[in-house]
């Protein structure tokens, strides 16, 4: 069983839901990334989504765009990000790490080299924002041979036939993007989410994470009531932006802990 499936199985037996924070690797500095990851785990994160910075983050709002720009200015490449995961694995062998990013850095490295390097670094899942299922069969198969899960997005406009298609290709969990727009754009519409989840569950036999637009403990708690995992990104990246390299890990930890507490209350 993969680390991601194990994590969800354990949480299920405890009657808890997964908290999945997203941070951009290399933001605010390369040196801060592994301490931030460790701090996220200590604060109660179950899975970490680690953003691979890209020069043209088309699906992201201003907050995550700026974090990508900071990380690139620090010279953070996909190879560096894989290095952070290796380092993280030296002290943490149980928390799943999912790389989230755009296609081109992976294309530039090549599928074979990437899957090879990701597996040996200890990556558990890969979410490529601009690879819809139609364009990602090759990478998905390559990742599968290494036991790495392919995470896919579903949106409010995904039709039933697409949800079925994602259900066939995805493993680990699927990520329901709860609003129309880019990351960090607005607040989540709870009734929309609860209306959509039954249809997704009918076709996808995997845990469902919900993200985009979750900004506080109260909303996280409400989402945890209906989904299997809560993904929080822009709100954390904002906190990173407002911190210094010295206090960033502690600040992020405090924020995630408050969300965890609200979710479990």
């Amino acid at each position: 069983m993969s680390r991601i499936s194990e994590t969800f199985a354990r949480l299920r037996s405890q009657g808890r839901k997964a908290l999945i924070p997203f941070v951009t690797a290399g933001d605010p500095t390369q040196a801060a990334t592994v301490p931030i990851m460790q701090s996220l785990v200590t604060a109660g994160a179950d899975i970490i989504e680690l953003g691979v910075p890209f020069s043209d983050p088309m699906a992201d709002g201003p907050t995550i765009q700026r974090s990508s720009e900071r990380a690139l200015k620090n010279g953070t490449s996909l190879r560096n990000v894989l290095g952070f995961v290796s380092t993280f694995r030296q002290t943490d062998n149980s928390t799943p790490v999912v790389l989230m990013g755009y296609a081109n850095p992976i294309e530039a490295m090549g599928y074979e080299a990437f899957t090879e390097a990701a597996a040996s670094a200890g990556v558990d899942g890969v979410l490529v924002v601009d690879y819809p299922p139609e364009e990602s069969e090759k990478l998905t198969m390559a990742l599968r041979t290494k036991g790495i899960d392919s995470i896919f997005l579903l949106s409010p406009t995904s039709e039933e036939s697409r949800i079925e298609g994602v259900g066939r290709l995805a493993s680990g969990y699927v990520y329901y993007v709860s609003l129309k727009g880019v990351t960090g754009a607005a607040n989540i519409d709870l009734s929309e989410v609860s209306g959509r989840l039954p249809m997704i569950r009918a076709h996808v036999n995997l845990p469902i994470g919900v993200g985009f637009g979750i900004r506080d403990g109260e909303t996280a708690r409400a989402i945890a009531g209906i989904a299997d995992a809560v993904v929080i990104g822009s709100r954390l990246v904002q906190e990173i932006e407002a911190s210094t390299p010295e206090n960033v890990a502690a600040n992020i930890g405090a924020l995630v802990r408050s969300i965890r507490t609200a979710m479990d209350a």
Partner: protein
């Protein structure tokens, strides 16, 4: 003769093209593809489009024998396809007119567009005004400064121009921002992409609307010359004017197709936008194609004296035509393009766009070594009124 019927139904030209977007945009693209596939073979739609091209755009555009320019080169005869004479001054309106009609058929009341030089922005603002639609144009904040006359034109036409501050603050960032707007306002908004790039069906749709250029040539050239030209040359930014001229000629193997990219300060300096000449395949803006990128797959900043060629990608169909050898791609530097610009002004009384000047420059270069009875047809994609500030500044003159 082998049939050429690309793209396939998923928008692929061999390994290029496709639909590389986030799930949030898939539905909108499916809807557009379904609608456009119906419209492109609907005689009533085609008739409506052709009527607008004739009475509003001013088509067909003439072909013209640039005799004095040819004489100066002393070799092959240079002919021009006068897209500069279209309403709004470039080929861009062929496409915006077509897409505006598609938007109307889909009941969309709000138009968004990205622009670099501002030509596509002006052409979008124009058709939006023509049909009473709201229009928002995204433009890199660097380009807003470089191309201020076009910003004012767009505003006169009732569009709002949004300066984009992210990334390199140029065309590629304007495209990112337009995509973000689209995904947020997808229900009532139609995104008019300005070149043969983006996710399927855009590369096919923009090609179809611009291929009126090549179709006219197919009959015009035998009329004026008694035969087809030996080569067709066009500048390539994203590649829409080139694709429009090339597409109907793909089966005519005896006609060479030559795309001319922006060599900037020279390929060796790294400061250029010659994507097909010096880039590598990758994924950006919804399709797989050649890109200007670093070893880590990050998109790098490009340079060209002409804002309209200053783009790190290129249409996927050009990538395919390059790999298959059906078309050739070369580059021309800023200085060579400027030289051709001035030659056109002095010898032909035509002020060409700096983009188009690249194609003219390459024609002048190869004409010299060709016999006098050979014919090079240059797609003169636009006029140079918009470039007065750039050219003057380059000559050390403050306007």
């Amino acid at each position: 003769m082998q049939m050429y019927d690309l793209p396939d139904r998923n928008g692929h030209f061999g390994p290029y093209g496709g639909v590389f977007v986030a799930e949030t945009l898939i539905h909108a693209l499916d809807e557009l593809r379904t609608q456009y596939e119906k419209l492109r073979s609907d005689p009533a739609f085609i008739e409506e489009f052709e009527y607008e091209l004739k009475h509003y755009v001013g088509r067909p555009s003439p072909v013209y024998h640039a005799k004095r320019l040819s004489q100066k080169c002393g070799g092959a005869q240079i002919w021009l396809k006068r897209e500069d004479l279209n309403h709004t001054g470039a080929h861009k309106i062929n496409n915006t007119m077509g897409q505006a009609l598609v938007a109307r058929h889909m009941g969309k009341k709000r138009i968004i567009a990205e622009t670099g030089a501002g030509q596509h922005g002006v052409a979008s603002a124009t058709v939006a005004a023509r049909y009473g639609m709201e229009c928002v144009v995204y433009m890199g904040s660097e380009d807003v400064i470089r191309q201020s006359p076009n910003v004012y034109r767009m505003k006169l036409l009732g569009a709002s121009v949004v300066p984009v501050e992210s990334g390199s603050k140029t065309l590629k960032d304007a495209l990112n921002e337009a995509m973000r707007d689209w995904v947020t306002n997808v229900e009532g908004t139609f995104y008019i992409i300005g070149t043969v790039a983006g996710p399927h069906p855009y590369p096919m749709m923009v090609r179809d609307f611009n291929s009126v250029v090549g179709r006219e040539l197919l009959t015009q050239m035998p009329d004026v010359l008694g035969r087809q030209p030996d080569a067709i040359l066009a500048c390539v930014g994203g590649g829409s004017n080139a694709m429009g001229a090339f597409y109907p000629y793909i089966p005519h193997k005896e006609v060479r197709l030559i795309g001319v990219e922006a060599g900037g300060f020279g390929i060796a300096t790294g400061k250029h936008a010659a994507t097909l000449c010096a880039g590598k395949p990758g994924v950006l803006h919804g399709n797989r194609t050649y890109l200007m990128q670093d070893d880590n797959g990050q998109i790098i900043e490009t340079h060209s004296i002409s804002a309209g060629l200053d783009y790190p990608g290129v249409g996927p169909e050009h990538a395919w035509l390059k790999d298959t050898g059906r078309a050739e791609y070369v580059s021309v530097t800023d200085d060579e393009a400027l030289e051709a610009f001035h030659a056109m002004c002095r010898l032909e009384g035509i002020i060409p766009a700096l983009e188009s000047s690249h194609a003219v420059a390459h024609a002048m270069k190869i004409a010299r070594d060709m016999p006098k009875d050979k014919v090079l047809l240059v797609n003169l994609s636009g006029r140079g009124d918009k470039d007065m500030n750039t050219v003057a500044k380059h000559s050390g003159i403050e306007l």
